[in-house]
Every structure is written in C-alpha cells, then in structure tokens.
Symmetry: C2
C-alpha cells in the first residue's frame, strides 16, 4: 500500500540521488577517481611536505627567487598577486625585480623575507595585506601587527635599503565574488601610513588613484574586481617612476 | 508504528541533511550568501563580458601585454603557466620578455597571437599544449592541428622571426592530482618535432632533461608534479642561453 511515508521516502531518495549525481559531477570535473585517490593519499601528508600549508606556487617561486642572481642595485617589488601580475622590469627598468607571489599575506612575506634582504637591495616597494583581510579573515589590527614585524625586520637587517610602503588597493564589490569592505582597506591604509612614519620610511598612496565615485575599484581597471588590467598598471607605474632610482644613480 | 519504510526514510533524510551541511560548508568557505548572489547575477553574463569564457587573469595579462612597449629586438617567451612562472628577464637577459599566461592552451595562444607578432620580434620561444591535453581533454591530433595554426600564423605574419618550438614537459603522476599519461606528452612532442621541420623552425627538447628513471617529471624539480621550482628553471635556462641572441647582436 502506498502511504504517506512511502511517498516521503521516494521523495527523499530522489533528493539523495540528485545530491549524489551533483557530487559525482563535481568529482569528475576535478579529475575523477584518481583525484579522490590522490586526496586520500595526501591526507596528513600536506603538513609534512610543506609546513604552514603554503601552496606549491609559493614554494616554486620562493625557490626560484633564491637561485636568481642578486645585487645591491636591485629594486624589489614585494607583495601578493597584485604585484606578481605586473611586468615590472618592462614597466620600470632593468634593475626592478618582481618578488610578488600570488596569494601572499603578511605572514608569508615574513616567511620569505630573508631571500629578499640577502642582497641589501637599493629599494623595496611593498604592497601587502589584502589577503590577510580577505583570505585569512584577519582583523585590521592583527594585520598591522604582522606588517610591523616586516618593517622591523627590514630596519634591522637591511638598514640602508629605502623602503616604500604602498597603500593596499580597493576592491570592487559589485564585481568581486567575495565581498570585502573597502572601509577596512581604508582603516588598514590609515594604520600603514602611521606605521610608515614610525619607521621613517615613505608611504605611497595608490588607493585613491584607482577609485571610482562610489568608493570601489574603478571597473575600467579590472575584470574581476580585485586584480588589475594593463591600464591600471600604467597608472601605478606613473607614480612609481618618480621614486625608482635609475641604474646609473 | 515504526516499520521498515520509516527507518529507510529516516536514513535517507539523515543523508540529505549531511549533504546539505556539506554544501553549506562549501558555500560558506567560498564566501557565503554573497557568493551565491554573485553567481546568480553572473549566470549568462560571463559569455557577454568575456567571450570564450577565458578567466580574468587572461584578460588582465593580455591587456598589459598590449600596453607594454615593443621592439624588434624582443625575445618572446610564449606559453602557459610553465612559462609564466619563470623570471625570464633575470634568467636570460634584458630583451627577454615573459608572455606566458597561466592556463593557456593552443586556442588561447592563437587568440592573443597578434599582440605578440605586432613588433616582429627577433625570437619566439614557444611552449604550449599540456593544458590542451589536461584541462580541455583534447586529443594529441587535435592539439597538433591547433598548434599548426599557430605556426602558420607566425610564418605568415612575422616571417623574419626565429621561432623555437619547445617540447611540452612531463608530469609527475605520483604527485600531481589530475592524472596525465606522459605517453601522450611524448606523442605530442613527436608530432611537434615533425611539425617544426615542416615549418623550417628549430625544435628544442626540454622533456628529457627533467625526467626521472620512471619517465615522470623528476620530483627534485617540482612540488605539485606539474609546475617547476627554481632548480628546474636553471636547467631550462642553461639550454636556452645557447639560442638566445644577445642584445648587441
């Protein structure tokens, strides 16, 4: 006899099947059984092979940076994806080296700072912090504390390097998939400006140059609301070239 | 009365609840409600804003490449993430420009080839194809057909440019999460070698230099089984510097 419970059971089973199909499609898209198998094999292994759980891209770039030739004339662009994606040597000149790594946070910069300091570079242009707020969900205060550690280490280990603290850039929340309050970015930048004074370094504001009238990253400069197109890099470059020391100097 | 149907219903409902919790956690990790909202808003929009559905990173880099200064002395490193992640100017010299875009396929290279050809560069070092096999699930034959289109366009539009076809690199299937048959890579490389002769270009084999004794990408060169660390770039550089023309030449 088909009673109410049986109908409910049928209904629930259909939903079970739909969920299972969804899961199967998701796994198939990721690479199927071999994906599951490798995930299974990798459980517990990750923390051993790379401490802090940083992604392979981080380790690959870090190891490359360690092997590249270094000079006291180096001008270092240090930061996350926003720095990483710029062709800085082409934008600013021969001595300018890209030391950005996509996904970097203040913690990850601290972890690889030694590689950068080794050569006592002439200048460092630093832009970091948005992933602290966005990916790590860190507070502005906690981000500033970590940032301070970076500046302390710079002051201590490479006192002759001219360090430029660049503002963190705005996000466009109408485009970007993970909402981030630009007021937090503004608060962070306010803190960074004060911190910069404290260390007697120079602060460079890029934030306002890329803003639209609604306090969002201007849509003319971005496709995804977070990263920058060529036009934005030209705006940024126009500011930095006033600070960058020519190779002859 | 609790009969068998009721027990099954209870069981089925529990599984559904578990699935729902899993889904909720997944969405929460991706950014919560605002993530869902944006996905909903973006349905159907994607194909309009960027045709071919290429990711923002592609459009950002392409637009930057369009805006950067060009010269007939340019030496162009053209390819996907394996090229993109190398600091080529630092490895090989001032005129060497990185025109790699992570995730690129033969199709995506074709789509942005004009930006590269515009200046009639001195040399082009091309490495592309692994994402055709891996991400697009394209056959070796179909990949070679697309590759041929790239070489045709190069021959036609910039006949004085010296083009170097580089072998596609092996993958390490013991590390990499998405299995790829290195025999397919070998077949592709065999085809590429013949294609290169056909066009009177030069073929450069990097494949064998990075291979271990089990025909996998040597674990000493990679963390994820697909991309390269600094050591691998030094091996690759040592080969290329025999071909790269010095700026004075």
């Amino acid at each position: 006899m088909i009673n109410q419970t049986t109908i409910l059971l049928l209904f629930s089973c259909i939903i079970n099947v739909l969920f299972l199909i969804g899961l199967a499609l998701f796994i198939a898209k990721k690479g199927g059984l071999s994906y599951l198998f490798k995930i299974f094999l990798n459980i517990g292994k990750k923390n051993k092979s790379n401490n802090f759980n940083y992604p392979p891209y981080y380790w690959h770039k870090k190891s490359q940076f360690e092997k590249l030739p270094k000079s006291e004339l180096d001008i270092i662009m240090l930061g996350d994806s926003i720095t990483d994606e710029g062709e800085w040597t082409e934008l600013l000149g021969l001595n300018v080296k890209n030391r950005g790594i996509s996904g970097d946070t203040t913690q990850r910069i601290l972890h690889r700072l030694d590689t950068v300091l080794e050569s006592n570079p002439k200048q460092i242009f630093l832009m970091i912090g948005i992933n602290d707020l966005m990916n790590d969900g860190k507070s502005v205060t906690a981000t500033l504390e970590q940032y301070k550690k970076i500046l302390c280490e710079l002051k201590e280990k490479t006192p002759n390097t001219k360090v430029f603290v660049q503002s963190v850039l705005p996000v466009n929340n109408k485009i970007y998939l993970c909402w981030q309050d630009n007021n937090n970015v503004l608060k962070l930048n306010f803190g960074l400006k004060n911190l910069t004074k404290e260390f007697n370094y120079e602060y460079i504001d890029i934030f306002y140059l890329l803003l639209d009238s609604e306090n969002q990253l201007d849509a003319q400069y971005t496709v995804d609301g977070l990263h920058l197109n060529g036009e934005a890099y030209l705006v940024w470059k126009a500011v930095l070239e006033k600070y960058v020391v020519a190779p002859e100097a």
